[in-house]
């Protein structure tokens, strides 16, 4: 438990003013704050936690979505008559049955998104797997039987299935406005002048894959109309605020739709956009019956949104000593058939594409391109992770060209606090990249020996990835904290819990300030009707936002109750210690009040022992016309280092040793921080080595876990994850967000290890055995489509 000094300091620097460097509390939470695990983890190991699909009503209906299995077509007719006649079928919905058939969100935050996505396709199909019909029936079998009897007649239409095809002259337009959906540009200095005086120009094109989140819990939920006529959904979602969009779809007042978020069996950004919600809501509203909907894994792989494949063209001018003088970066991202969050993802890609390196002459451009493929949207790392492969690959190529070590090139160029980014904004916290790099290499130790007669190589990569939403969203999160009459604590916050301990961390944080232990705390989360809204769990924002909200509200509650305590104990505020469910005079535990006494006394004096308030993130303006302004509140830095063995006969890459180091500012729970890093590394290794959704002429062929290969325990080494507490960030107690950042460095670190082993830089992910073997045979990696073209 923290000392009083720590809390006093926290109060001197109110968090809502978001100081650039908050003064550190004297004693910090640096491990498990409480020896008592939060309830959700106990229930998970017991098998008793009710996920979205584990809960329901007797006699509820079962919903299914019927999807098109053509990538691009006009709908000539839909015949649902046979489906309607299946015994037990209660509703068969087409586009005409959806009151407002539009999933739309102004995702850019700057008022420049226009295109809407139908809930159910009306006139045309734009991607393989697009929903056409929704059915509810008394049994899952009846629903599936009906689904099989829906007759849709299509007229083939010409589609654009790759970014090259979509950008070609005369390409078929996915939407009337053309296939260039949005372009972001930022620039600083004079790039061409700087390129002119550079000693070397390093130019390369990189291609990253379309990948699936592959959380183990399928998209699922149950919906019903409650006794007040409120359409209520209990679903696996990262965002309860979708209740408003659902109300718009049903043309109901916002107060008549409620979303409850169950604990998720993983999300990773894939449950940030709506999944089952609009279909479930429409079926519930139509039938006025409770409905359950669970998507099959094969549907999830087929049609739920993926990570954007990026093609990145980097041109970097350097001096002989390795100093970067100019960066010219162009990114194309495949948005698939609908916008979803593509504008934001490509924004993140552009403004983070220069990495943790100083560059006073830089020009970055990113474009989201519509194609007739499955839409892409949020996925852990959100545009800022794809570019790590680009900028770190460039650093290694610079080292190779100049005869320097990869460490030397990075040392020459690391950003420091106060350096200006491509957007013209300064970096206002201390970056710990340098320390992370040295620690990672030190931890890796002696070079590994080959295990299978292959060649062993070593690689590392650094990253700087944002946490928190773009500042022009003026982000905020609310929280309610109160004491019950028996001194137990209740926290209400609209956060959703992905499994990373989002609920548990609120109990830890408020407990730090109010001295209430986790076993005496209940956290109510994720209910759009009953918990104060916090915004969803995405963008590595929840610890920063809701964590700071919990700090603020707990502190306000402590301030509110302090006069009562002082009166009861006859002492000054500065003498108080709040710990172990007591408020006592420092050094005199006998001289104390229990939380129960405090709560009852306060109430008797009409000082209600609860507070509801809102934390506001730092805000800033961004001008999309000039590409200048403020982007993200802060960044998390890190470095991963790896030894890998390449089997030159098969192209197989085996990872022998892996170290991941990040500056986490301050850990609220170091065990959970380490777990987040390890999990992100596993996902990053899958992205680097094996995962890729295969689409051929618009038709998705990776629709089974049997052919979409996420890492098993045999594909991964033990991951040595280290959270350093170097420089304070802007989260509670100086924490930095850790949910997304550790996924970035994996691919370039592995690519460098492969390069070290076989002398060839792989420019395309994933680095499958087939591609590595082809590169060994050809003496280079030729697999990037369109490589070398300036127009990437």
């Amino acid at each position: 438990m923290a000392t009083d000094t720590g809390r006093t300091k926290a109060r001197e620097a109110p968090v809502d003013e978001a100081p650039v460097q908050a003064p550190p509390p004297a004693r910090l939470p640096t491990g498990r704050t409480s020896p008592v695990p939060h309830r959700d983890f106990v229930e998970k190991v017991a098998g008793t936690l009710p996920y979205a699909d584990d809960w329901g009503f007797p006699g509820m209906l079962h919903g299914v979505v019927v999807r098109a299995r053509v990538p691009c077509a006009l709908i000539a007719s839909i015949d649902t008559s046979a489906a309607q006649e299946v015994p037990g079928v209660r509703a068969v919905l087409t586009a005409a049955d959806i009151p407002h058939n539009a999933i739309s969100e102004e995702a850019s935050g700057l008022g420049i998104d226009q295109i809407v996505q139908p809930v159910l396709a009306d006139e045309r199909i734009r991607y393989d797997g697009e929903p056409v019909v929704a059915i509810a029936a008394e049994t899952p079998g009846a629903a599936l039987e009906a689904a099989g009897l829906v007759e849709v007649e299509y007229e083939d239409a010409e589609g654009a299935f790759t970014i090259d095809a979509a950008l070609a002259d005369g390409a078929p337009a996915v939407h009337p406005g053309g296939n260039r959906y949005i372009t972001w540009r930022s620039a600083i200095g004079d790039v061409e002048e700087a390129m002119g005086r550079a000693d070397h120009i390093i130019e390369e094109t990189y291609q990253t894959p379309r990948v699936d989140h592959a959380y183990l819990e399928p998209e699922s939920g149950v919906g019903w109309v409650d006794s007040d006529g409120v359409v209520t959904l209990r679903v696996s979602t990262q965002v309860i605020e979708h209740a408003r969009q659902l109300a718009d779809i049903l043309q109901l007042p916002h107060s008549r739709v409620r979303v409850i978020a169950a604990y998720m069996g993983g999300g990773f950004g894939g449950k940030e956009d709506m999944t089952v919600e609009p279909y479930l809501a429409a079926l519930v509203w139509k039938t006025r019956r409770p409905v359950r909907m669970v998507w099959e894994r094969q549907d999830s792989l087929l049609a739920r949104q993926k990570r954007h494949p990026f093609r990145m063209h980097y041109r970097t001018g350097v001096h002989n000593d390795g100093t970067i003088v100019a960066q010219d970066i162009k990114i194309l991202g495949d948005a698939g058939a609908y916008p979803l969050l593509s504008s934001r993802v490509l924004f993140a890609g552009a403004v983070n594409s220069t990495g943790p390196y100083r560059c006073l002459n830089a020009r970055v451009e990113s474009t989201a391109v519509f194609t007739n493929t499955v839409p892409t949207s949020a996925f852990r790392g959100f545009g800022a992770m794809q570019v790590v492969f680009g900028y770190e690959s460039q650093m290694d190529l610079i080292a190779q060209r100049l005869g320097l070590t990869p460490v030397q090139v990075r040392e020459r160029n690391f950003v420091d606090r106060g350096d200006i980014r491509v957007t013209g904004e300064p970096i206002d916290t201390e970056p710990g990249t340098r320390e992370c790099m040295h620690r990672a290499l030190e931890e890796l130790g002696e070079m590994s020996a080959p295990t299978n007669g292959g060649r062993v190589g070593r690689g590392f990569a650094c990253s700087m990835q944002p946490y928190g939403r773009s500042m022009f969203f003026a982000d905020r999160a609310s929280c309610w904290i109160g004491l019950e009459q028996d001194g137990t604590m209740v926290i209400r916050a609209g956060v959703t819990d992905l499994g990373a301990g989002q609920a548990a961390s609120l109990a830890n944080i408020a407990g730090e300030i109010l001295g209430v232990t986790v076993d005496r705390t209940s956290v109510h989360i994720g209910d759009s009707a009953l918990t104060p809204l916090t915004g969803g769990t995405f963008a590595t924002r929840q610890l920063y936002m809701s964590g700071n909200a919990a700090v603020k509200v707990a502190q306000l509650l402590r301030d509110k109750l302090t006069p009562v305590v002082c009166d009861l104990l006859g002492c000054e505020e500065s003498e108080l210690e709040w710990a172990n469910n007591l408020v006592s005079v420092v050094g005199d535990r006998a001289h104390s009040v229990t939380m129960a006494e405090l709560s009852r006394t306060a109430e008797a004096r009409d000082i209600m022992p609860y507070v509801h308030d809102t934390f506001h993130a730092e805000t800033g303006d961004f001008d999309p016309a000039t590409g200048r302004g403020r982007t993200y509140p802060d960044y998390t830095h890190g470095c991963h280092a790896v030894d890998a063995e390449v089997d030159e006969r098969t192209g197989e890459v085996r990872i022998l040793k892996y170290v991941a180091v990040h500056d986490v500012g301050r850990a609220i729970d170091m065990q959970r921080v380490v777990g987040q890093i390890q999990g992100a590394v596993a996902q990053g290794i899958g992205y680097a080595m094996s995962e890729e959704m295969e689409i051929d002429e618009g038709v998705m062929s990776s629709t089974l876990f049997a052919n979409y290969l996420i890492p098993t325990s045999l594909d991964l080494p033990d991951i040595n994850a280290i959270g350093l507490e170097l420089y304070l960030g802007k989260g509670p107690f100086g924490a930095r967000g850790i949910g997304e950042p550790p996924i970035g460095p994996c691919a370039p670190a592995l690519a460098r290890a492969v390069q070290d082993a076989i002398g060839i830089r792989m420019c395309r992910l994933p680095m499958t055995p087939e591609r590595v073997l082809a590169a060994i045979r050809n003496g280079r990696d030729d697999s990037v489509p369109g490589a070398g073209k300036d127009g990437a």
Binding site: K44, G47, L216, E217, Q671, Q678, G679, T712, A721
Partner: protein, 164 residues
């Protein structure tokens, strides 16, 4: 759905013997999740790849999504709830709790059962053997490191007299 006659089967689920009427096309997974009231058995992929739906059938791990309920007639089935006794977590569950072997928790029931099965037969298994043992249970959150830490911590506990 075709109307085919239901079969009567006898199964012992977590030590409790039950007679159930099941349709011939019902999967063991669906039987456990619905009629037998065991939502702790999770559906991950329905194609026998992810191992999420693992249960022990007469002590051996099976993908319950790939079995018909009628095939379990006469068998004993252990789900993760069968590990805990009298509301007390099994030591293996406690080890997962202590070592953060569970994040989102969705793979945890299957993972626990596979680990329990393997260690019962190979009480001295080393880390690499354990890594192979759980290769059929996918986890997307942890990277497996803390799962292996948890299983090893349980393996290294002093053996109690009850042996289970």
């Amino acid at each position: 759905m075709s109307a085919t006659a239901a079969h009567t089967i006898n199964v012992t689920i977590n030590g409790r013997r039950t007679e159930l009427r099941v349709s011939p096309n019902l999967s063991l997974l669906e039987l456990l999740r619905t009629e037998a009231g065991g939502p702790e058995v999770k559906l991950g992929c329905g194609e026998g790849v992810c191992g999420t739906c693992t249960v022990l059938l007469d002590g051996e791990p099976v993908n319950s999504c790939l079995m018909f309920a009628v095939q379990a007639d006469g068998c004993g089935i252990t789900t993760v709830r069968g590990l805990a006794a009298d509301g007390e977590l099994h030591d293996l569950q406690q080890a997962f709790l202590d070592h953060a072997g569970s994040q989102c928790g969705f793979c945890t029931p299957g993972m626990l059962l596979t680990a329990k099965w393997y260690l019962d037969r190979h009480p001295d298994a080393d880390r690499e053997e354990l890594r192979r043992a759980i290769a059929g249970n996918l986890c997307r959150c942890t990277g497996y490191t803390k799962i292996l830490d948890s299983i090893e911590a349980y393996r290294d506990l002093p053996q109690d007299a009850d042996g289970d």
